[in-house]
């Protein structure tokens, strides 16, 4: 039976408490951490964490190591379905490594870092960005070949070896250099199929980490997708030139030719076309905007070439 413990409890002014919990499966020095719900608008990650928990609950006797699952790091934001921690309006994923003497979000960040410290592998589960649908993808640090190789087994369409941006040092994943971030689906929604794919991917990663025997998988290894590996140079942001409503003409992971129309931007008051947004190169659509309101410069799609 899995051990469930409270990593930290945030006392609310009204007298209630908001706990961040960890569910531990198995035992042994080799420890894998699976964390979800760092932002409250990514329920797909939480669903995947629970699917994996449910599976490990039944297979715990076969585990060769410890799997710690943190199904929801930001419970108050998840409660509201918002990206940021309520009241403080703070993005928890910009607060790491946190402070034990700071405000509650900073305390949670610190408590998570302290609790996870020493784990051999960290896997972060997210959903898509709120305004987008995204193909399933694993994001690893650009200079970490070992985690890129491991991520090949995560049952995703793309492994993106990403160069850290200016905000990266304060993110959860950046605290653990070999971490793998899994995401996909649609922002603030559960997408049929995506959760199952990512959960299968996590279980397959546990097999490759030798924590779970291959015979324990609920699927055949040949069913796992073979991802495309890309770097930042192969991921192209496509932006709107005009403001208005973006109406997509493409779907996730469809192949597009250079110059092919990805969608149009229409005047929100008349519906007349202001711009046809075209792919700058041939490739596959990694992300497409679902929330239609756009300003000039708003990203409407990501196209990968590989």
């Amino acid at each position: 039976m899995a051990e469930t413990r409270r990593v930290i409890e945030i006392e609310l002014p009204s007298g209630d408490v908001a706990p961040v919990v960890c569910r531990r499966f198995g035992s042994g020095p080799f420890r894998v951490v699976i964390a979800a719900g760092i932002r409250g608008d990514a329920p797909e990650g939480i669903r995947v964490a629970h699917r994996v928990s449910s599976f490990l609950e039944a297979e715990e006797g076969r585990l060769n190591g410890t799997v710690d699952i943190y199904p929801c790091a930001n419970p108050l934001a998840a409660h509201r379905g918002t990206r940021t921690w309520p009241f403080f309006d703070t993005d928890l994923n910009r607060l790491f490594p946190g402070r034990s003497d700071g405000h509650p979000p900073a305390q949670v960040a610190r408590a998570l870092c302290d609790d996870i410290s020493g784990a051999q592998q960290v896997i972060e589960l997210r959903g898509a960005r709120p305004a987008f649908s995204e193909a399933s993808q694993a994001i690893v640090r650009h200079d970490h070949a070992e985690s890129a190789e491991l991520a090949s087994h995560a049952n995703v369409a793309v492994v993106w070896r990403r160069t850290p941006g200016p905000a990266a040092p304060a993110t959860f994943a950046h605290q653990f250099p070999g971490s793998i971030v899994l995401e996909g689906g649609t922002g603030n929604r559960l997408t049929p199929g995506v959760g199952n794919d990512l959960a299968d991917g996590v279980l397959n990663l546990l097999v490759h980490l030798k924590v779970l025997p291959e015979s324990g998988l609920p699927f055949h290894w040949a069913a796992i997708r073979r991802p495309v590996h890309v770097t930042d140079a192969e991921v192209h942001r496509v932006r709107a030139e005009r403001g208005g409503l973006f109406l997509p003409a493409s779907t996730i992971w469809s192949e597009v030719e250079a110059g092919e129309c990805l969608g149009e931007i229409v005047d929100p008051l008349t519906g007349l076309t202001r711009e046809e947004v075209r792919s700058p190169m041939a490739g596959n659509i990694l992300a497409i905007r679902e929330l239609p309101v756009v300003f000039p410069g708003t990203m409407v799609a990501r196209v990968v070439t590989a």
């Binding site: 006392e11 002014p13 009204s14 003497d101 700071g102 405000h103 403001g243 208005g244 300003f295």
Partner: protein, 300 residues
């Protein structure tokens, strides 16, 4: 008034970044307010300064940006409403990036001046004594002190990220001052007027205007001279002091009580004498949250 940048906006009029310019030539000063749409004490202060500059043309150039985040202000929101991004974390910006990145880039270009000031209110849940936050030494400290605001807070430069406007100005080699006063969401007319006088003193120090208002500085401190009082537990905080109050050690600053029933949980008493520079305004508090800051004064 000049529109220095504009961008198309769906469903409403274009976003426009407005600049008021007074005088010409050197020295050049740029003063920015309203980067956060729910912090409008700075906007009020800058508009007061504009009224003064209409009556007295400066000997040099003063660029005023009273309200950058107009869309946020329309909704009483700190950030740019569309994608909930903080403009003050988007610097140096990108002329080909998102709307917020484009605005940041345009603002940085439009504030090409010798001395730059960014004026904010406190967060919505706290009220701050008007203050200038400056490095521990150097020209910016001299300029900050010349403002004569009630609090001069000398802070480590590392606190200011390059993605913020102050950091971007410094990276561009400009003198940058960070002014904070009052509380977000509300308008503190007294604090706004105090900030406006401080801005005018700065212009006077730089030789752009004549100034007559006496210096109002009460405390000139570093971090170690500021007593920070935090909540021992969560609860309902009732303050017994206001910002600007002078207190002695042991002075009752406020108390925590149960939100329901009102049983008193604990008292907050000053550990040091000085001037109260920060007071929690929103009463529901979490454990370890900031409630009151007291800055040491020369007499304490």
């Amino acid at each position: 008034m000049t529109v220095v940048y504009s961008i198309e906006a769906p469903y409403r009029g274009r976003y426009e970044l407005h600049r008021l310019t007074f005088g010409s030539g050197s020295p050049r000063v740029a003063i920015v307010a309203g980067l956060h749409g729910n912090e409008l004490n700075g906007m009020h202060a800058v508009n007061m300064l504009a009224a003064a500059l209409r009556a007295q043309r400066p000997r040099g150039t003063v660029h005023l940006f009273p309200l950058v985040n107009t869309f946020g202000a329309d909704e009483a929101r700190k950030r740019w409403p569309f994608d909930d991004r903080d403009i003050n974390k988007a610097f140096p910006g990108d002329p080909d990036g998102t709307a917020v990145q484009r605005i940041a880039s345009a603002l940085l270009d439009a504030t090409d001046a010798d001395v730059c000031v960014d004026v904010h209110s406190g967060a919505p849940h706290v009220r701050e004594l008007p203050q200038v936050r400056v490095p521990l030494s150097g020209r910016e400290l001299e300029l900050g002190r010349a403002m004569g605001l009630p609090l001069v807070w000398r802070r480590e430069g590392a606190r200011l990220q390059a993605s913020g406007l102050i950091g971007a100005w410094r990276d561009a080699g400009r003198q940058a001052l960070h002014v904070v006063g009052g509380r977000g969401i509300t308008l503190d007319t007294g604090h706004s007027a105090t900030i406006a006088r401080g801005l005018k003193r700065l212009l006077g120090h730089l030789g752009l205007v004549r100034h007559v208002d006496p210096n109002e500085t009460v405390a000139d401190v570093t971090r170690v001279e500021v007593g920070v009082h935090r909540a021992a537990t969560g609860g309902f905080f009732v303050p017994e002091v206001r910002v600007g109050a002078l207190v002695k050690p042991g002075h009752l600053l406020g108390y925590l009580q149960m939100p329901i029933g009102g049983d008193r949980i604990g008292e907050l008493r000053a550990r040091r004498g000085g001037v109260v520079v920060t007071v929690r305004a929103w009463p529901m508090v979490y454990a370890q949250e900031l409630l009151v800051r007291v800055a040491g004064t020369d007499s304490t």
